[in-house]
């Protein structure tokens, strides 16, 4: 299979830098910086205090050491905690006021912010470094009672909702990175789907890191009231840089009775070069709470980027009969490291969860699945099914599986299956005998391996994800 090793290495094509004037804080973190971020956003005092409490908690915490990843200590004073494209003082009202360079950036990334292109049936919130620069289809959604806007805007327009739900799923002191995010988060998306409304379009956020030496700390909050339904997508890219950049986001989902939230991610942060230089540290806390009966939260993620990924989109299944799902494809190539998985915490009766994790390791990448399934005492008849498969390409990569299964109810049923395999020479030869090149054969086999996850993604995303996978594995050894 030598020819596999010779496959050309395609480049990270999202790695360009946009030249915009920006308003960036000096590097460093202190209470004053936290206050300054809050002031910049003209936040109410309760939120400033909330941030400060998080900051003080963070100071007493230590970065987790249990993940199966290695990186030099991060200098938290070496990061700028706020960076926004310089803009008129007032918040932008329409796209006309957004810097054309930024609009061009999004066009180049394949994300149209033009209202006319609503045909795609996707509303987009575009986050550029620390701030949301544009949100499309807002008016249309507002007529349906759906709030879809930047987090900063929500703080002013929907203060009571923000106050009620912010930190209700991921408390400020939850973990080191969540605490840091709570102190310094700059922007993100806010979605609120009122009772009985089925959101007619996909809501999406596109995150772009542009500035150097900044961290991105976005905060997303999605609330689906009784009977509401929403499908939300996020995508992310960053320029190629030799230094590592920190991205520490927090996402909170709340589903009330009979509500459904589907959250899909295609994470394509800059992964660093083939020797492991540069790339994003993607340290993210994502958690959903199925608070109501019959509610359902589905996480689908395709993780191809980042130098290091550390994230566990989780579900707390509180409402009786609620459902949590996690579908994941994580690819590591070259020197990438991923420690990712999920937590399914069964609290309510008849709660069900499904975990399908597909890990692909190539090059010198290390891929870890870490998942917790916990059945609390009262979670009668809880069910979990976990399937966790690893595919290894090359003999210098690693695949690791660390499931934690904790059961305290005798009527629960938890099943976990894991397997590890490689692309066999026989498979490649079979494809070649049918006239298919090695490169296409590998692509086909890998996509086949991930199929159960891809079919959970909205159509456009699934196509994008398949392409990404091909690019991510280019140059991997066979």
């Amino acid at each position: 299979m030598e020819d596999v090793e010779q496959l050309a290495t395609k480049d990270y094509k999202w790695g360009f830098v946009t030249d915009v004037a920006s308003d960036t804080f000096a590097k460093g973190l202190s209470e004053d910086v936290v206050r300054a971020i809050s002031a910049k956003k003209n936040e109410p005092s309760w939120l400033t205090d909330w941030r400060l409490a998080a900051y003080r908690a963070w100071l007493k915490m230590k970065a987790p050491v249990w993940p199966n990843v290695t990186y030099p200590p991060i200098d938290y004073q070496g990061i700028a905690y706020y960076s926004a494209p310089a803009a008129p003082k007032d918040k932008k009202q329409s796209l006309d006021e957004v810097d054309p360079e930024i609009l061009k950036t999004y066009e180049k990334l394949g994300i149209s912010l033009d209202e006319q292109k609503r045909l795609q049936n996707i509303a987009v919130d575009a986050v550029f470094d620390s701030v949301s620069v544009a949100t499309t289809c807002k008016d249309y959604l507002e007529k349906l009672g759906i709030a879809f806007c930047s987090f900063s805007e929500a703080v002013h327009k929907h203060p009571e909702l923000v106050r009620r739900y912010l930190g209700s799923v991921v408390p400020t002191h939850d973990n080191f990175f969540a605490a840091l995010n709570s102190a310094v988060f700059s922007d993100g998306s806010f979605c609120f789907i009122p009772k009985g409304v089925k959101c007619p379009m996909e809501l999406s956020t596109y995150f772009r890191i542009n500035a150097a030496d900044t961290g991105q700390f976005e905060r997303t909050l999605i609330v689906a009231e009784e009977g509401a339904q929403v499908s939300y997508l996020e995508g992310c890219t960053a320029p190629k840089r030799d230094t590592n950049q920190l991205h520490a986001a927090v996402v909170e989902l709340v589903a009330l009775d009979n509500a459904t939230i589907k959250y899909s991610t295609v994470q394509n942060w800059y992964p660093g070069d083939k020797d492991g230089k540069g790339g994003i540290y993607n340290f993210v806390t994502k958690r959903g709470k199925c608070a109501g009966v019959n509610s359902k939260i589905t996480w689908t993620q395709v993780e191809t980027g980042s130098a290091i990924t550390w994230k566990y989109p989780s579900c707390i299944l509180v409402g009786d009969n609620s459902v949590g799902e996690f579908y994941s494809v994580a690819v590591v190539n070259n020197r990438q490291q991923a420690d990712t998985g999920t937590k399914m915490i069964h609290v309510g009766k008849n709660t069900r969860s499904t975990i399908v994790s597909k890990g692909i390791s190539a090059g010198r990448g290390n891929n870890t699945y870490r998942g917790q399934v916990k059945v609390a005492k009262g979670a009668a008849k809880a069910r979990n099914y976990t399937q966790c498969d690893s595919l290894l390409i090359g003999d210098r990569c690693g695949a690791h599986t660390f499931p934690y299964i904790e059961v305290q109810n005798p009527t629960a049923k938890v099943e976990h299956e894991a397997s590890t395999s490689k692309i066999s020479e026989d498979q490649i030869f079979y494809c070649k005998q049918r006239g298919i090149s090695t490169e296409n054969a590998i692509n086909m086999i890998v996509n086949g391996f991930c199929k159960e996850v891809f079919r959970e993604l909205p159509m456009e995303f699934a196509v994008e994800a398949q392409k990404l996978l091909g690019v991510s594995l280019d140059g991997s050894v066979g």
């Binding site: 230590k62 937590k343 003999d395 690791h400 305290q408 976990h416």
Partner: protein, 447 residues
Amino acid sequence: MSGAVAEMPMVKGCWPAHLDAFEKSPGWSAVPWAVGLRKRGSAAFHERGFPTTDDEDWRYTSVQALAATAFRQSLAARADALVSSTAKMFGFGLEGGPRIVLVDGFFSPELSDLTALPKGVRAGGLLRAMTAEKARVETHLGEIAPPSFSAFAALNAALFQDGAFLDVPAGVKVETPILILHLSHESYLASHPRNLYRVGAGASVQVLEAYASPSCDLYFTNAVTEVDVERGGRLIHGRIESESGNAFHVACTQGRVAEDGLWQSDVAALGAGFFRHDLGARLVGERAEARMFGLTIASGKQHVDHHTAIDHAVPHCPSREYYKAILNGRSRVVFNGKVYVREDAQKTDAKQTNRSLLLSEDARVDTKPQLEIFADDVKCTHGATVGQLDEDMIHYCRTRGMSPAVARGILTYAFARDVLQNFGIPAVKEHLDRSLVQRLLDAGRGA
């Protein structure tokens, strides 16, 4: 997986005093070459103290109660009439065969019977072997299970006074299984038996290492067993933990297997109130094989924690692991099984299965099967399930005229037999089957 890091004070309990007293007694330097090992053990324990639940390897098992208990130490062996009669109570199906008996951690020549062993086989107490068979012991002792392995292994290295020694020379096939019986019968006593088994090239032997007590006393057994299987050797290694319900039993069993060798470990966890077993196999030669079978039956407030590790260090090695647990009452069972496939260990074929049956409201299972794989051409799978008896099966039994309780009992028994049938010493398997059937029928029935 998350949460703030709590700073816990390091707990050492009564052990600094034990270490101190032993260091001043003649036992410490009775075998001069072992003093280095003892010192390393003592230093390692002083340095780390007991683990806390923040320690990933101990996240489901708290040693607080164990650490807080003031145990007594015994600086000399004794064998009295009472012991001699009780030793006969425990045969585990191997009655009348060769036996090595230890009482509270000390080898008892009077209670042991080694007359039937083939020529060349060396068996008996470890302490004696450390002098008489120095060359065979020194190279292995503390090397396969080093003091650095855990706080308990460290304590054992420092404080062990005796244990069982078995050496089967190359080519010798021992037909009759050997019983190695560790008896505990002193209340609040801590013992640290240390066993060493060597199986020479092409040799084969079956060993049952059993821990038992005639009492329901509180005491502490802290055992370490080191196993070395040389090229083409075969060791069928049964281990029955049938201690007093109030006892603490911590064990560290580590072995290495050379090419074409086989080590099969059959563990039955039946007794102690607190049981922790670290079982590890290193496959260091091609086609070396490890098999690990485990059956746990827990009830009351028992806490049973199995930590297993299979390290595939070289290519072409198979391993099989099958652990099952049946839980009743307020018992808690932990299974942590690691399969490690190192770089270059191509063509590894590893399969691990863990199944738990929860029979009561208050029982709890924590399972953590782990695969760590650094080679690509491997076949590794693991599966874990936690659940209850299959309702369809119960229904099927009922259509054949059984009451639900009887059906449950039978299915529980079947659940256990499924793993028991893999046990490698036929007489022990039959003994366990016979002696457990009633307990299992009752457990399933909810009695």
